[in-house]
Point group: D2
Chain length 389, copies 4
């Protein structure tokens, strides 16, 4: 087992988290675990959690190991023992919290998508740029960049192993809305969620495509649809009137990259049987790479430079010591889980803060994803017309 010590005198970094639902649980576990796994230069101190419902916030703090609970995120930002604000709330609150925290000189980790609107995202990117001049760091939580298989894919691409890129195809397929009886929640309401499948999960596919290719999308043509246009509100009795679904159930789009490569995207929560299938494949002149989040410890790699006699897609089990992040985890073949992407993310963020360098993905990266989302919506609303980004 590789050494994974942290020295007793490792400095601490106080963390304050806003929100404590699904993402809050995942982030909490990451903050509690990162210094056990990695020899990080800063030891996170889980200072306080903020939530509007005091009792619930206190219970969550107890459960997840936070020292204090606040009911006002502004109070959290102002705490002296908080140096980093971790934003795990729905998208409509991101901008306000993040800008306030950055302006107060606190580092920020903000869940994706960066915001619900392009204007908000632009304001946030501006705040992050200002803060950076003062050594304050901002990162957007596209955690799938921290899947070791994805990071390995990026490394191989950067090394030229697949050559000139031709094709990207990325999709994020889930099925939890396939049943028309599933009730209406905030995720299906435009004013809270911003968009549906496109922003919720399509954003991940876009970020991975741009991260892995190393190129921004320059234009898109999109098609969006809502299969089930109204649903019963959550908790409503049988006779309750249905309310409209105001977001997309599925988004399909094509795109172009500066190198001449073309890209194909799909995001849906109606792909029956696909539970969490974020898949991406990249074909280059010299090779190809393919990944599926449902098998997150594996990367497929085809190397056209080897003899055609023995060429074939290899299933790389990404658990070797020299694979990204793996030097600190378990021996070969002992696989990681979904939540460990957040531990890896925390490692990178702490490392950057200690080193005084800007973490990735930056708010500018998040803004670029937001521009793609906006362009897809614009195109879909205009007969799939080609829309520049």
């Amino acid at each position: 087992m590789p050494a994974r010590s942290s020295q007793p005198d490792t400095p601490e970094l106080g963390i304050g988290m806003v929100g404590y639902a699904f993402m809050g649980a995942a982030h909490s576990r990451a903050w509690a675990t990162v210094a056990q796994v990695f020899d990080v230069p800063l030891r996170p101190r889980m200072a306080a959690l903020a939530g509007r419902d005091g009792a619930a916030a206190r219970a969550a703090a107890h459960r997840f190991g936070w020292r204090h609970a606040e009911t006002d995120w502004r109070a959290l930002i102002n705490r002296d023992d908080v140096q980093l604000v971790d934003i795990c709330t729905p998208g409509d609150t991101h901008a306000e919290i993040a800008i306030a925290a950055l302006d107060a000189g606190k580092h920020v980790l903000c869940e994706k998508p960066l915001a619900n609107t392009l204007a908000e995202a632009e304001a946030m990117a501006g705040a992050a740029a200002r803060a950076a001049r003062n050594g304050v760091r901002a990162m957007v939580g596209f955690n799938y960049r921290r899947v070791p298989a994805v990071a390995l894919a990026r490394r191989l691409i950067a090394e030229g192993r697949i050559g000139t890129l031709r094709h990207v195809r990325a999709s994020y397929l889930q099925d939890w809305l396939a049943d028309a009886a599933v009730p209406l929640t905030w995720r299906l309401q435009r004013e809270r969620a911003g968009s549906g499948a496109l922003g919720d999960i399509g954003a991940h596919a876009i970020d991975l495509a741009q991260y892995l290719s190393g190129e921004p999308l320059t234009g898109v043509s999109g098609l969006m649809t809502t299969f089930v246009t109204e649903r019963s509100p959550a908790g409503a009795s049988g006779g309750a009137e249905k309310a409209p679904v105001t977001v997309d159930d599925a988004a399909l789009f094509t795109g172009r990259l500066p190198s001449g490569a073309v890209a194909l995207f799909e995001a849906t929560r109606f792909a029956t049987g696909r539970k969490n299938a974020l898949t991406i494949e990249l074909n280059g002149e010299l090779g190809s790479l393919a990944f599926d989040l449902e098998r997150l410890n594996e990367l497929s790699f085809y190397d056209r430079t080897e003899s055609g006699t023995t060429a074939g897609f290899r299933r790389i089990l990404v658990t070797e010591p020299d694979h990204p992040y793996l030097e600190a985890w378990w021996p070969p073949g002992h696989v990681l889980g979904w939540e460990h992407t957040f531990v890896n993310q925390a490692r990178d963020l702490l490392t950057d803060i200690a080193a005084g360098s800007d973490p990735e993905p930056s708010f500018a990266d998040g803004l670029q994803v937001q521009r793609v989302l906006a362009a897809v919506e614009h195109s879909a609303a205009h007969g799939s017309a080609w829309t520049k980004i």
Copy 2:
């Protein structure tokens, strides 16, 4: 083993084949084999083969078991011992041969795509409709409908096993052009091939999508690209000047079906490592089906009506006696090969001719595919604008 007899007094049907390259070889094997495998009502008699080069045509006839060779397809059509004309030539000759044969009262099997232009395809469909009134049959060779796994998928969909359709995603990925040093051939010249990846392999994906869903595409938005814009002519020495590639290397498009389902397509010959990956997945409210031609004996099926505890994509090995076509082949687990799709196709065509019924896919089906191809090209030439079909 099931009985597979053909009675001694089974009537014969004289076959005349035009072309003897890749498709000609596959069709020859099918005609030679079909009556051994299936108890067909008509026994095909391999009467004559036509090709412009007399010596080569005679050699091919000898090799593949044809009784005679002709150098003029018109002579072939006029032979008394030919009742069915099998067209295996490049697309630019399909219309002339097929219309002449139908007008001469000969049944026609025509390789896909039906034609190189919409006008030709319309003329052919018209000729087929006229001929049908006289009991003359026409079929277009979308052989992948005859993969047992595909036919099983169609049966399950027709039975309602996946419910209301939401998504179709179909792609045909090959990689034989990924290397920029591959020379220029007729398949890369618009005047001979009509189009590139779109018509050559994308046509199969379109036909499968429409066949399996049972719905025609009503509109598309397309994007096409040519990655390698010029190549050295085949057989040229190193210093030869390159000539332009005038077809698409890849085509990506979205589409809609009348039921409200959305569809996503991709055809390319630049997907490094993908050799013959015609894949299609359909997601419905009650279930999903997925197929990959590289594993042509398998069908994946997810049934949402069963308990969530044990639900999962099943790998059905489509080799059971009650699977389509399998009653006549081998015991369970003894897999079929690519060429056997042509044997199954020949069985269905002979059965329809004997029964006096119109075979599928008809020339009208071929024309519908052609309309989709034309719409994709139109959209791609107009900024991906939505194009009705």
Copy 3:
């Protein structure tokens, strides 16, 4: 497409086949097809088929394309137009027919297993050795050596690509007896079938293990069992008395090879859900190979000499022109089926006969498999005691 011509003046070789059931059908198709696919030096002429039931034999001959039918295999052997006798009958008749044919100067292709008893197999190997001195050839039909993926595995092993062999694990799993209601047939009766799963399918696993490793098993320890000890006779009404099953339903055994490698085997017809799963994996110091007959166009290869960062089991789609046998079939990605193994086998046999060389697997190879079968039975009958071969 590669050239696949046979010259008009290619000499012919007259074939006579005994038996026309499952194996007879497969062999007939191979003799009819081989000269269309390969440019073979001898063109097989399907002279006559022999079967005890005259009407059935004539029908089979008509169906499969044999010129004549005989009711006595001795008459078949004596025909002037028969130079090769192809034995497709149950195992209890192999010895008598094969020895008579060889003694009559006819080449022999004999289905596996070579015989039902070790004594018979020894007599057959003796006859083959005598005949070889007169240029008469004998081959045993372990057709799975002719799966291109298996032949490629052999080539890679012979080239040293997996280094010193450590492990072989081979199994042949089917499930057609899992249901206790399946009736009793000759395959479950020792006097006809010789043994059960062991000889019927285990023989294939043994032959592949020895062929791929290039080493004979030197000893084994076996365990055999019969799960369903009596069954109703085929065609019997519900009240019919059951009769005993006198063969093994499953056989498991370990073994050693001269190099120090160890081997593990399993053969069963009770592996519910496994239809035709002949699987074999070989682990060497430098690499590993794995194969599954249910995916017969694929070979898995792990190469430990490449960087650990990108090492992984590759799925080689064995359809490239430089893969064994593939130069004569279809373009990459166009897969072969089970029956094509017999076409490849016929190619090799015809080539050897024309070249005057002894084909493989020889009757001596078949005898070696028989010795292993006998040793497994002996060990299983003596408390799994180690039994030398």
Copy 4:
């Protein structure tokens, strides 16, 4: 997200851990995490860790979150704040520590295999039986029972979903010794490790086979081998003399279960390319189940009671809320990692202690595994002779 609260007044249970290497790291993480994930009735308090090297023990305690460090395991046992002793040391120390702890009235969790010898295991089982009368609990750490897919398999088998069992085949394949240059460590020395692949990893395969089938093995026939008989000591310079490897590199064995089912086992650290492939398949009259630890979130299930038309092995993604343990983890499709098996194990142990019930696997279960290990070694030393258990 399901509720995962622990009330503020949840009673605590003091944990003392002996050993802090590979297993110690995994157990530490489990104790730190279990109350965040599950609503457990006892909240573990990480009281103290023991290790002979004081500085290293203190560093590990700091890193992993233990309050105190001890250099003597006897002192750890005697601490008032320790109610449960968690033994993560090599096998040669298990018996002494476990018996002392149990006799001192402390609950014990002991890593597998239970001991290095049968005599030790018997003494431990005796101590556990005595302690149980006083409400003191003992559990052996066969953590793979806590893989959700494995627990689901057990549930399906217990419900009769695969019917009468016919076959078990289990193997544990790794490859970290395939390279003869890997140095000698304590794991390759009989006096420390007890045995090689057999006890280290084969023990897991045996436990799973017995757990899933619900039956103890009644006899075995074994074969063991050591491929590389001497290696250079760890840390030795190039010229150092090699020392003998005194354990098995691979063990293969067959076995029988009381129901009449037969079993096949293999354990090796020489299966090049297999990193952590603990695989098990069970075939019953009505269905089959298959599992592979390298894809630990998946279970394959074949149900013969459904129509043969749509039957096939299903890939169940074991991440649904009603799958074992999953009610407390993440939404469907968000996969777990290897280390989470220890969290699940801790949940079950805490629940049993609070409920006053005996946890499984018990020391008696560990002893039964030990008896199988001893029988395999005996058989291998006696010509694979059948050895009763």
